[in-house]
């Protein structure tokens, strides 16, 4: 999916919600466990219930890999189901990969050629040649970690260099030599509040993938106030707050309600910004 298609989806659906598919068999409703492939059954129900309210899905690879071969089959089925039934939803494979050039090239082939997802989260620590192998694919995106939502983001990402530039700012600035707003986004945690102002000074036009609303405590209003741009420029993710809102038989209905609540808030935010 290219940038203008994504922006169109956001404007049409009045939503910039990304639903995180962090599917954990310890947390899904008991009755789902009777299914032959409970992970896929859960995902399918969540997707069918929430698709109207979101523009994107983000399966987190860790949750699939945890079940080895079976988990990977569930992941593949989920991607296939999305592509066949909801081809206008932007798929983020949240895998946080990044390795030396020939290895990153293997990961790129896997996620973009084999799974054919729209985007992949990538860690920047290893620098240019660990990121650029992901950038040669038409309408595919790198989503580079910049300022993450967790407590540990303070350990290294905020370290200032001699000129007062913080590491996440250096990542934002440097990586613009590798890709542009048509093939690169950045992960910025919703918990980072006013830091979005500093981020928008460096990447005014890029999309930001924003985890941390909900379970992690970030505020949607604050994210929009400081982070939204003329094309919206945000994909705000919620995982646990939607998919585990109920663990009864009504889990999909409740997930839809939670997604709709966010969509309504997002519609209001878009209007506030004249979008």
């Amino acid at each position: 999916m290219n940038r203008s298609e994504l922006v169109n989806q956001i404007k049409t659906k009045r939503s910039f919600l990304c639903v995180g598919l962090d599917t954990d068999l310890k947390k899904v409703p008991q009755h789902i466990l009777n299914d032959e492939d409970p992970i896929f059954a859960f995902n399918k129900a969540i997707i069918d219930a929430t698709a109207d309210y979101c523009v994107s899905y983000k399966p987190n690879l860790a949750f699939y890999e945890a079940f080895g071969v079976k988990g990977l089959i569930s992941f593949e089925k989920t991607i296939k189901y999305l592509k066949e039934n909801y081809p206008n939803h932007f798929i983020v494979a949240d895998a946080k990969r990044g390795d030396i050039g020939n290895t990153s090239a293997m990961y790129a082939r896997t996620f973009f050629d084999e799974y054919d997802v729209d985007s992949l989260t990538v860690a920047p620590y290893m620098g240019e040649d660990s990121v650029t192998p992901f950038l040669g694919y038409k309408d595919k995106w790198v989503i580079l970690l910049a300022l993450t939502s967790n407590k540990g983001s303070h350990d290294f990402q905020l370290t200032e260099d001699k000129d007062g530039e913080r590491l996440f700012e250096k990542v934002l600035r440097t990586s613009q030599q590798w890709g542009d707003k048509e093939n690169m986004m950045y992960v910025v945690g919703a918990t980072q509040g006013r830091m979005f102002e500093d981020i928008r000074k460096i990447v005014p036009d890029h999309f930001l993938l924003v985890p941390g609303v909900g379970a992690q405590g970030g505020s949607l209003e604050e994210v929009c106030k400081y982070g939204m741009n003329a094309d919206c420029g945000l994909l705000v993710n919620s995982s646990r707050g939607i998919i585990y809102a109920s663990n009864g038989e009504d889990f999909a209905t409740v997930a839809a309600e939670k997604a709709k609540e966010l969509q309504i808030q997002m519609d209001a935010e878009l209007k506030k910004h004249g979008i």
Copy 2:
């Protein structure tokens, strides 16, 4: 495997070689492709041929994931084969994972409980809570990226903060509050030469996993000169230089010769250092 067992293996076998299983079906000998599971068939032949000359194997997950479910089955079979037939070899899953706490916990469960490998490479960008979930497992290791072997290592890892401390040095220093020499190692590229001196000032006793000898141009002699400690403290990896030394029917024999060449050099280096 714990630290003293690893040191014993090195002293007994007179080798600190780690063979990287970056198994790429585009590079394996043609005749292997006729096998039902060519990745595993190749690995098995390489392992049987080189086990006497090395103390460790390092499958790189990217190369297995590239083949989806089939690749993951080959990975699982390789780990099982190693554990059953060569239980004294230290297994590194080279996956460079690292995510927010609950996700890292999922990865830890996958690699340490399910696959039961000895160690996992982890990226430090997301800080403490992305790394510590991997540290609670008995005789299991985090191998944290510090100063990698690739060109892109210069982009961020060498950035100096206000006090002149470089990012990789901060990673080494800070992470010692999370783990110790019994459960944490560091990745330092063989291409980094005298930087090993600076690294040993911060982590004199830790093991270092050193990729980059061979195809990437690093020098074993230099690595040992500046990086070896009283317990050896090094696992030097070679992947392409061993496993693709021949792509004929003699590939395993030639891989064994290459591994043996390195083992002989390593024996000499150990003696030079009184080990």
